[in-house]
Amino acid sequence: MKDVLKLIKKSIEVVFVIILILTCMVLTVIPASAKSISYDQLHHSCTVFHNNYTAQEGIPTITTSSYIVRRNVTVPSGNMYLGVASSTAATEGTQSLIQANRTAGNLFRDELATALRAEGRTVNTEVYKWTPFGKRYMDLDVWHNGVNLGGIETKVGGSRYLPLQRLKDAWLDANGYPVQLVRKPANW
């Protein structure tokens, strides 16, 4: 009877040790694999995006800031907890970059609107257009003599012209509402 109890005790100890080892392995291995997968995927998608972008729109380089935004968001460093702290700091940086990009974008949009108004057009900003694929947000909606001529999407730096935007724009264009993409020149 004593032997049986000893055996059970021993078994419980062994099981406990195995669980402890497995827990340590999980805590060590998972962050490492997560890091390599997310970074590789991110790097790959950035490269693919960069190539497509350059080929399609003749943009020679992607801006440093927009590249940093993407890289900072998903590159963890150190252990799991440091990774969280690092991504929090990156998010703050990202937000301020997004804000800066948005301000620059709004300034360019307003410059363009002023120029169009000087040419006798009525221009509304921040306009939503209905499409079967969801609403399309237009930076500028241009009218002349009470007729809606079309929309303008303003872009600053390397900001993307996304596939869904292209799809909605194609639908709008087919329905008599052409959408123009106007990108602010680097030396503006």
Partner: protein, 199 residues
């Protein structure tokens, strides 16, 4: 405090007194199955302390909706067949946005908005709330409230439904003449097939 939400709360009873029903930031006037819609849009440039907002409005015809143009049971302002922003009916057609600071008196802003709704938005909606009103607008007024091809498509559908074939023929002839060689010509031809138009 969310300034914009508070403002909508302040505006709601005042607009309901004027006959509007509310859904989200949209307010609806109904005539038969047609809708007059007023939408308050908050700018993306708004902050917690300062809110910019504007008013979009439009008219939705159920006849046009059922024909396949932006069909919806309870449409949104973007689905309206005739659309405008409030500034288009102000002198100089500015892109008009109200600016509200967190310290501002909301009831003061609300009464200014209501005054604008009463003096500009409701009269313009009422002119076009019926299909007859829309036909008159598209035949006789400069402000189309849509694209060139939009006006043509909507007008021809309503005229055909009404059975006013003389006016329909005139509209078709004039449009085909002016859009010769332009992309709208092929769009118009395609549309005329869809509505089974023949002289």
């Amino acid at each position: 405090m969310d300034i914009f939400k508070e403002l909508i709360k302040t505006l709601t009873p005042l607009l309901k007194q004027m006959g509007f029903n509310k859904k989200g930031n949209n307010f609806y006037l109904e005539l038969g199955e047609n809708y007059g819609i007023v939408n308050f849009q908050k700018s993306r440039e708004s902050t917690k302390e300062v809110v910019l907002f504007t008013a979009n409005f439009g008219v939705y015809s159920s006849v046009l909706g059922q024909f396949g143009y932006n069909d919806s049971v309870k449409p949104e302002v973007e689905q309206c067949h005739w659309q405008s922003r409030v500034g288009s009916f102000m002198p100089g057609s500015p892109d008009y946005w109200w600016k509200v600071n967190i310290s501002d008196n909301l009831s003061g802003i609300a009464s200014n908005v209501i005054e604008t709704v009463q003096s500009i938005i409701v009269p313009e909606i009422n002119k076009r709330l019926s299909d007859e009103g829309l036909i008159n607008c598209w035949l006789n007024e400069d402000f189309a409230g849509t694209t060139e091809i939009g006006r043509f498509k909507y007008l021809t559908v309503l005229l055909k439904k009404k059975g006013d074939l003389n006016t329909l023929n005139q509209v078709v002839d004039a449009f085909m003449q002016q859009s010769k060689g332009k992309p709208n010509a092929s769009r118009a031809l395609e549309h005329l097939k869809e509505i089974e138009y023949s002289k």
